[in-house]
Symmetry: C2
Subunit: 760 residues, 2 copies
């Protein structure tokens, strides 16, 4: 490592979240808290059927209700107003509904209560159609079609990949395992429910306050909606208030946002639509269920020879970013461990279920569940220690994987070591107790899934050494403002509290592709660092004249600008800034910087180095299985990650803890239960959200590899915490009681059934 | 002129104010409209006496009132918390009051009504002292002292200036006139009354929404108040809401702002203090009354030989920027017309009256009233035509005045011509009708009265050619956002509506010294232009590669980037921006620029070129005097100005019309009547505000001299409209009925008395 943490003043420090006190004191303003003058309240009416034709809608009673300002149906939505990744989803449906979640009408009224009452007064006559809810059945030739105008329920997607020669490699393998895994619907369970407030100014420019992870892309979506409404050449300002969690749920725009826009324009007043918890469960998106077929093999020494995977994803009735998760699944499939021959086919299939969205890990947890379960099975078959097989096949610095991922820094081995150090993997645990391990690879240096993977930063300093940074990056609770503040403070020799980070307002903040793919620390961090370096150079240039030394000799620390070793040549930064400001031809210090990483879009060959660097990790679990009840208790959990550099270990641990707890829920309890397209458990209790009460003791060893491209060496680490949790648990259960559960979540019932089957 | 208006697409166009519709629809949010969660309402108790000792204050009943959260007296104000130019004014007074306006207590309560009730419950015992209300008497040796710890009521100010040799010049003059003029108290009469809302975050950082013209300097003041409160190293964010007029009234921070801060900190809640109209009259500041002694002479050809002036200014009980107006008075005294020998003494004198503040023109209207009245008297004495004497002595391009002002462009002659063209100056008007003329010089290119006269701008473009500009400049209704938008749009080949101007938020906007001295168009305009040019160069550089031509050949117009004469080499700006963004190593276009004009602070010798350029003007009035009632009717008014370049003639005319109407009120009707320190007419009717109903037909010929340093040649023109109005009217009255009124306002009573005296 080129620099150790002791070289830093602010980076690497456990600085509590800068907005913690505001939030703890109840002063943070969430969308629920914002009230604009004259604001109306919108509500949405959803379909009564999973699949039906709309024969007739009568809104007359709703329109007549006192306090109602507007009622909209599909007829009021401009033809070209469509949402989603392939723009197949109008915000209110016309003529036909394809899922229970489909919007059929909306109202704006002077209170939420009146709006609700108005919804109840809308009379709709439906003609029910046969629904299709199983993606594998939906793929069959004679299956009913979710969208009649398409010839198949299978989306046209390019995921049919073959690197190397899998057939040949399989033949030459010493050991091969093959299996089928399935994962369930889960949802993000953001504690802050969704909402938006739209308002137009006198010139038909739109301001929308909305819970989003993608202010710049949402701005584009809304501009397109405005165009569809006939409002050309207008401005859209997206302001993201403080939000209570994102986890990928806010990577697309939602019907409620576009409906708020339509209502606000019709009423000429601000219109707020805010979800309650039931609506949050039913009308926001999920991590889609997957059916995963995996076959992989190794030679007699345990070296992986090939990996052949096939995925079927339930897309739901419409298409959002969930349909693009196969591209992230490709990453672990092609690149978790060294494996030269890879085959991968993925199919996203329309059903009459709720449509899916991005969620933390973005396909990686699903794929890794299969891969890492299968790795243990392969190790057992080959008679190789399960830690050893991972060491043998570990990724290494300098590798280029079949997909074309270029591994720069790689701490996977150290992560495996860290897990092994904490838990016993010798099979000598007490009865019913077992340990499991699973590794991960994830993008850690951006992810080019859009034309630009960039982020801008603007920085200005005042006369005293305080800094305002406008970042394109979006904080959604993860603490990006701390990270930016610490990076800028480190570069300029200031304290984190000297840095004010302004984010989430498209009028003010430069463009950014969004808070996804664990990219914010790396990309927004590099953008802010770039701006700080420019400002630093300007200060050095000014100080260079003042001190009569070359600019590069001038350093910054503890709010002092100085030439090391020359006590005469030193000045408090504030004084220097004032000198620069109040001299003839004076200036204030400002800079802007746009950072677009040098990563690649996957081209037609579906190859490319999608990220500047990759994060690695290994998770270890120690569980106890109650053989009478099937209940799994997690006794210990170790989550070791190669993070490049921990800008703030406290926040990093927070990310890891949160990720692991989310992963444990995924592994053990959480599931959106869906019956014929209808969500049956729209509440935290029946959803079985893993809560603080369920959380276990987690150790989170931090491996620092000082990535050459990361800001101060950092990689992104937002998602990895939840990626290999389920297989680590599944592997531990197998170690404990010898049953392998291949279907998430691993409920006591499934364990009991498996135990019964094993003991029969 | 190097460029004519037809060379421009956006500059020179009559584009209505960009915020006009918002304001007309009642959607603009003034301080009165802003309500923050949990907000309390503050009110201030003022002194019952012009001069008294405070013997005892009992706040117990107020504290006990239900709904009251805090009661403050002078005892609660930190010792070092002082306001004003020489920091002589604590926001709440302790022990002693020196004017009726002195604050003695303040409360915060859950409603304004309860706050008012609480004030009524505060019991104060005073011991009245002798007050001094006449500044000339206050200068006498045995006068009572306003501030006992000072040895004199006369402020220590440097205004004792002698350029050339006045004594010699006087002896050599062919004609000399000498007189005494007086001007009254007037006040700004902003339609939006004053107010502020202060709130602290959990870390004791302050946000203050306040009606100010100086966000950056106010931030500094508030930082100092925080320091005085023991809150070191904190952040202050100043947000200026939309305000209903400034006119100089908001160039300093006021007691109510600091009191709101104290209350907000004590209550840990947002506290709003908003003035009603009576409070606005009584507790905001005035244009100070002046007593002006002037002597000037000319040779037998009418060429000015010397000017000798002495000013006495009523400073009131405390010191704000009003005390610095002598430095602006110096400008016309030294530099209106060519005059080589100048003597000038000014004294600001403490009295127990209300303290004075900056007001549009900043001393220039007072000085010009005397100078231009005296010019007519001198012309008459010398037997020279009053237009002719002005032409003889007119400033000319290339001059350097005794004070050191460097006259770059000068359209004074054209202004005089324009006035002469519109009105008859041959003395042949009908009986009781007369014409008058008066000229002006004013700073038109900034005014260095502070360490920096600079302004910053940050500019960012989106993917479609829309621009956000963050300016340090402060709009207070004058339309700065239009000016910035037009300048940036012109430079980048866009429409004004493509430019979003963000101002008046210190977190977002770069530093600026404030909206004063008619500097915003020039200084903020140049800053925005500088940023636009930087962005333009970046686009040119990118397009240069694309088109394979040198960057400087690439032009911008109508949202097109093109090489003139080569139709192949042309691309819509939006498309080019997207190309730049979505290419490898892509970037968004951003730039920052700080412009500090190359003007000078007056040093110890009280010489220096305080502005980069100067605006000139000549006003002409045609009045009819009713000899029975003394009433003066303004029949016609011409206000010709050398504006360099009219960026927006519509807004420019608005500035001139508004200035002239303000000047007419100053000339004819408006006065704050003060009796023994007490304001007697705190309402628009008794103050006799010149209203729309009283406005006269005004012609505003625009003289364009294309200033070399101005943005697209523009000079500042915010203040001049009200500068020479009073002498133009006074001169017209003299022309009409042969009486010269030397005391403003020229009420019917004064005219009648003068007519009677003349006819006796």
């Amino acid at each position: 490592m080129s620099k150790s943490n002791s070289d830093f003043s602010v980076v690497g420090k456990r600085i509590p979240k800068l907005d913690a006190a505001q939030k703890a004191m109840g002063r943070a303003e969430y969308i629920q808290d914002i009230k604009l003058p004259g604001m109306l309240y919108g509500r949405i009416l959803y379909s009564k059927y999973a699949h039906a034709n709309i024969v007739k809608i009568d809104t007359s009673k709703a329109v007549a209700l006192s306090g109602v300002h507007a009622v909209l149906t599909g007829e009021d939505v401009p033809e070209k107003m469509k949402m989603g990744f392939i723009k197949d989803n109008p915000p209110i449906k016309k003529g036909k509904v394809c899922s229970f979640r489909d919007e059929v009408a909306a109202v704006a009224a002077i209170s939420p209560e009146i709006a609700k009452k108005a919804l109840d007064l809308i009379e709709i006559e439906y003609e029910e159609q046969i629904g299709i809810f199983d993606p594998e059945k939906a793929m069959e030739k004679d299956s009913p079609l979710v969208h009649g105008h398409l010839k198949s329920n299978v989306l046209k997607m390019p995921w049919d990949i073959h690197y190397g020669d899998v057939e040949k490699a399989e033949k030459e393998s010493a050991f091969v395992v093959e299996d089928r895994f399935t994962t369930q619907w889960v949802t993000h369970c953001c504690l802050g429910t969704s909402g938006a407030i739209a308002l137009f100014d006198a010139n038909d420019n739109l301001t929308i306050h909305t819970n989003t992870q993608i202010p710049s892309l949402a701005q584009k979506d809304f501009l397109e909606s405005l165009k569809a409404m006939g409002l050309e050449n207008k401005r859209v300002r997206v302001i993201k208030p403080i939000i209570g969690g994102g986890f990928g749920s806010k990577l697309d725009t939602y019907a409620y946002e576009h409906i708020a826009i339509l209502l606000a324009h019709k009423c000429r007043k601000p219109v707020k639509i805010a979800f309650d918890r039931v609506e949050e469960f039913k009308a926001t998106s999920t991590r889609q269920p997957t059916i995963i077929y995996i076959k992989q093999g190794c030679d007699k020494n345990g070296k992986l020879t090939f990996r052949d995977m096939r995925m079927v994803l339930d897309n739901g009735a419409h298409t959002s970013w969930g349909a693009t998760t196969p591209s992230v699944m490709l990453m672990p499939i092609s690149s978790l461990y060294r494996v030269e021959n890879v085959k991968y086919v993925a199919k996203c299939v329309y059903t009459n279920n709720t449509y899916s969205q991005a969620m933390r890990g973005y396909g990686n947890p699903q794929a890794t569940f299969a891969i890492e379960s299968s790795m243990d099975m392969l190790a057992e078959k080959a008679g190789i220690d399960r830690i050893e097989i991972r060491r043998i096949n570990r990724n290494q610095s300098g590798d280029e994987t079949p997909q074309g991922l270029k591994i720069t820094t790689c701490g996977l081995e150290e992560c495996i070591d860290a897990v092994e150090k904490e838990l016993k993997f010798d099979g000598k645990n007490e009865k019913g107790v077992g340990t499991g391990i699973a590794s991960l690879i994830h993008v850690g240096g951006g992810a080019r899934i859009y034309g630009s993977d960039g982020c801008g930063a603007i920085l200005k300093m005042d006369d005293y050494g305080k800094v305002d940074v406008f970042t394109g990056g979006t904080d959604m609770g993860q603490g990006l403002d701390n990270i930016i503040a610490q990076i800028v403070a480190e570069e300029l020799g200031l304290l984190a509290e000297d840095i004010n980070v302004v984010h989430s307002d498209t009028d003010i903040c430069p463009w950014d592709v969004g808070a996804h793919a664990s990219r914010s620390t790396f990309v927004a961090g590099n953008a802010a660092l770039g701006a700080a370096k420019k400002v630093k150079q300007k200060i050095q240039k000014f100080a260079s004249k003042l001190f009569d030394v070359p600019a590069e000799k001038i350093e910054f620390k503890d709010k002092l600008v100085f030439v090391p070793g020359d006590q005469e040549k030193s000045m408090p930064l504030g004084k220097l800034l004032r000198k620069a400001h109040f001299s003839p031809g004076g200036t204030m210090l400002m800079a802007e910087y746009f950072y677009d990483p040098d990563n690649q879009n996957m081209g037609k060959e579906l190859k490319g180095n999608m990220s500047m660097t990759y994060s690695f990790g290994a998770h270890g679990a120690k569980v106890k299985v109650d053989e009478e009840t099937g209940k799994v208790e997690v006794l210990e959990y170790v989550a070791a990650h190669d993070v490049g550099r921990a800008i703030n270990p406290l926040l990093l641990e927070g990310q890891v803890y949160g990720g692991v707890v989310m992963g444990l829920g995924y592994a053990l309890t959480e599931e959106v239960t869906v019956k014929d397209g209808e969500i049956m458990n729209a509440n935290f209790r029946d959803y079985k959200l893993f809560t603080a009460k369920d959380a276990v003791k987690i150790k989170a060893p931090i491996i620092e590899t000082d990535d050459k491209d990361g800001p101060f060496g950092a990689k992104g680490i937002g998602e990895p915490g939840c990626v290999p949790t389920a297989p680590a648990i599944a592997n531990a259960i197998y170690d404990a009681v010898g049953v392998r559960i291949k279907d998430l979540p691993i409920t006591p019932e499934k364990v009991l059934v498996a135990l019964k089957k094993k003991n029969d």
